[in-house]
């Protein structure tokens, strides 16, 4: 395995994606919304607007808290309503939404790399290079996965800082992240990044344009929305154990998808699609 070739392919793909505004637009917008705007909004609103008014709009917070497991409910014991609101919104309700980022980043870069390269008719020259099929595959996968994970982690970091600063006036301490966030960041986020690219590679064999791939992989967001709804309704709560379990399932799915992708990622079939 020639790692110099793999990194060259990954760097080249990233370099190319950087020039694609359609790919980078969401990569800038989402972290801004998730890591800065939303936590500021949820942390500051109760400090200025009576929480009863917010509660009327959002539903009964105490009723929502009853959906949490008892050990998690303990975190809220003794807190004011405003404090409960900030804690619930920023540390619980919001958590699964962060998984949109690795999923979206990796699938957008993957779509540009796997389908875009074919669409722009640059694939043939690459296939005439001495890089092996595996090196081409890994280069392209790494180009999608590494920045997706790094960008997600950066967003988490900014989110942690912003949440603590924005809620400090209300909670008077640095309280975030809660234990659930660690496996979310370091187990589930990489799993979702790999899921994004694995599904994109599978889809890339069946679509002709970047836009088609982009739109199809966008449907993966349904998984994240399912987690959010599960959390709101109390059907599924993202505690440490649940996050680890979901992550394990996703990694198993990833392993199967990657195995199938490697088996199908052959020069002869790629050239036939040009």
């Amino acid at each position: 395995m020639n790692w110099r070739s793999i990194w060259a392919i990954a760097r080249k793909d990233l370099n190319e994606v950087q020039q694609n505004k359609m790919a980078w637009g969401p990569a800038i917008a989402l972290p801004l919304i998730f890591a800065i705007l939303m936590p500021i909004l949820f942390s500051t609103v109760p400090q200025f607007v009576p929480v009863e008014n917010v509660q009327r709009e959002l539903g009964d917070i105490e009723a929502m808290l009853k959906n949490l497991p008892p050990n998690m409910q303990a975190i809220f014991n003794g807190l004011e309503l405003e404090q409960m609101f900030v804690l619930y919104m920023t540390a619980f309700l919001f958590a699964p939404l962060f998984l949109i980022m690795p999923l979206m980043f990796s699938s957008v870069v993957g779509a540009d790399s796997f389908v875009g390269e074919r669409e722009r008719k640059t694939m043939e020259a690459l296939l005439y290079s001495p890089a092996t099929d595996m090196e081409l595959f890994l280069g392209k996968v790494l180009a999608a996965v590494i920045p997706a994970i790094i960008l997600s982690w950066l967003t988490y970091f900014v989110y942690i800082v912003v949440v603590n600063i924005a809620s400090y006036g209300l909670l008077q301490r640095i309280w975030f992240p809660l234990p659930t966030w660690w496996p979310l960041m370091f187990w589930l986020t990489p799993a979702f990044a790999v899921l994004g690219i694995s599904v994109t590679v599978m889809i890339s064999a069946r679509v002709k344009t970047f836009m088609e791939a982009y739109q199809l992989t966008g449907s993966l967001v349904v998984i994240v929305l399912g987690l959010v709804l599960g959390q709101i309704s109390g059907v599924l709560f993202l505690g440490v154990g649940t996050v680890m379990l979901i992550g394990t399932v996703i990694w198993i799915v990833n392993a199967v998808l990657i195995h199938l992708s490697i088996r199908n990622f052959k020069r002869s079939s790629l050239i036939a699609k040009l």
Partner: protein, 310 residues
């Protein structure tokens, strides 16, 4: 020494036969043309020889290696100019070349020097940092050729190298190709349907259609195969007296003679007979102004072969 050896090579796509029982050799240092209309199997042959596609049947050896199993090693020694330039338009010329130089395992310490050197050779240095999307077609083609040559491959595959270029740019590219084989001794396989280009550049050609080789050889060999007899036009200074045509007909090697005003068209068995004919006429005291053996162009050969195939 043969750098490419192909034996009964065949490639099918479902029912369609793209390459059908091809057999040919390419010698080291020669420019070999693969001539045929669109869809004749030229690009598929290039792909088979580079190990991009496995053959359905038959064997091929490039540098003595099997493309089906040793494609990576073969591609280290080949440079391919694809029919479309296939350049990364959002990247600069320098970035494009640097990327392919890395894939070709040029040492990191030499890459920038080599990229600058080849950009200079192709007269693209002043545009090195510009994105390729701002280049003209001719510049893109030169850059694609630079990419194919970045690692100084001993074997070069050029697929329709002047396709879509204006005459001036096409001329530039042809001059470059000509220099490569003459000056550097590189072996070139030229896949084209441009007959003028092939006649100018190729030492030998294989004329193909529907994946099959119709004829193989140098221009003269092909002409001889197609037209074993040859014609020579003789123009006189003064119209000949008497039955000069009749006297020529009895000469050895002369097949047919027709006289028209001051000129004579003589069909002879082969070119060796022409000096005999001229001597015969001179001995008869005829005043000869011009002797023109009829030349066949690659175009004549190509269309004769394709017509025969049809």
């Amino acid at each position: 020494m043969s750098i490419i050896e192909v034996n009964n090579l065949r490639r099918t796509f479902s029912e369609h036969v793209a390459v059908d029982e091809m057999t040919f050799n390419v010698e080291s240092g020669e420019v070999f043309g693969l001539l045929g209309p669109n869809g004749a199997g030229k690009t598929t042959t290039v792909r088979l020889l580079n190990g991009i596609l496995p053959p359905s049947n038959g064997t091929a050896r490039v540098f003595g290696l099997d493309p089906a199993t040793q494609g990576e090693m073969i591609r280290r020694g080949t440079g391919v100019l694809t029919e479309t330039p296939a350049l990364y338009e959002r990247l600069s010329a320098h970035e494009n070349l640097k990327f392919f130089a890395t894939l070709q395992a040029i040492p990191a310490t030499d890459i920038n020097r080599r990229v600058d050197e080849i950009l200079e050779f192709f007269d693209l240095s002043s545009r090195a940092k510009d994105k390729v999307e701002t280049f003209s077609k001719g510049m893109k083609q030169r850059l694609a050729l630079a990419r194919a040559l970045i690692h100084k491959p001993p074997l070069l595959f050029l697929d329709e190298p002047t396709s879509g270029l204006d005459p001036e740019a096409a001329q530039q590219v042809n001059d470059l190709i000509s220099n490569l084989s003459r000056a550097n001794g590189q072996t070139v396989m030229l896949a084209t349907h441009n007959l003028v280009e092939a006649q100018r550049l190729c030492d030998r050609v294989a004329v193909i259609n529907k994946g099959r080789i119709l004829a193989l050889g140098s221009l003269n060999e092909l002409a001889r195969k197609l037209w074993p007899v040859t014609w020579v036009d003789i123009t006189f200074h003064v119209k000949p007296r008497g039955d000069i045509a009749g006297s020529l007909k009895s000469s050895r090697g002369v097949i047919r003679v027709s006289m028209e005003d001051e000129s004579l068209a003589v069909q002879v068995e082969n070119a060796d007979v022409i000096p005999e004919v001229v001597r015969h006429l001179a001995n008869k005291g005829e005043s000869i102004l011009r002797v023109n053996p009829r030349d066949y162009t690659l175009e004549d050969i190509y269309f004769a072969l394709q017509a025969g195939e049809a």
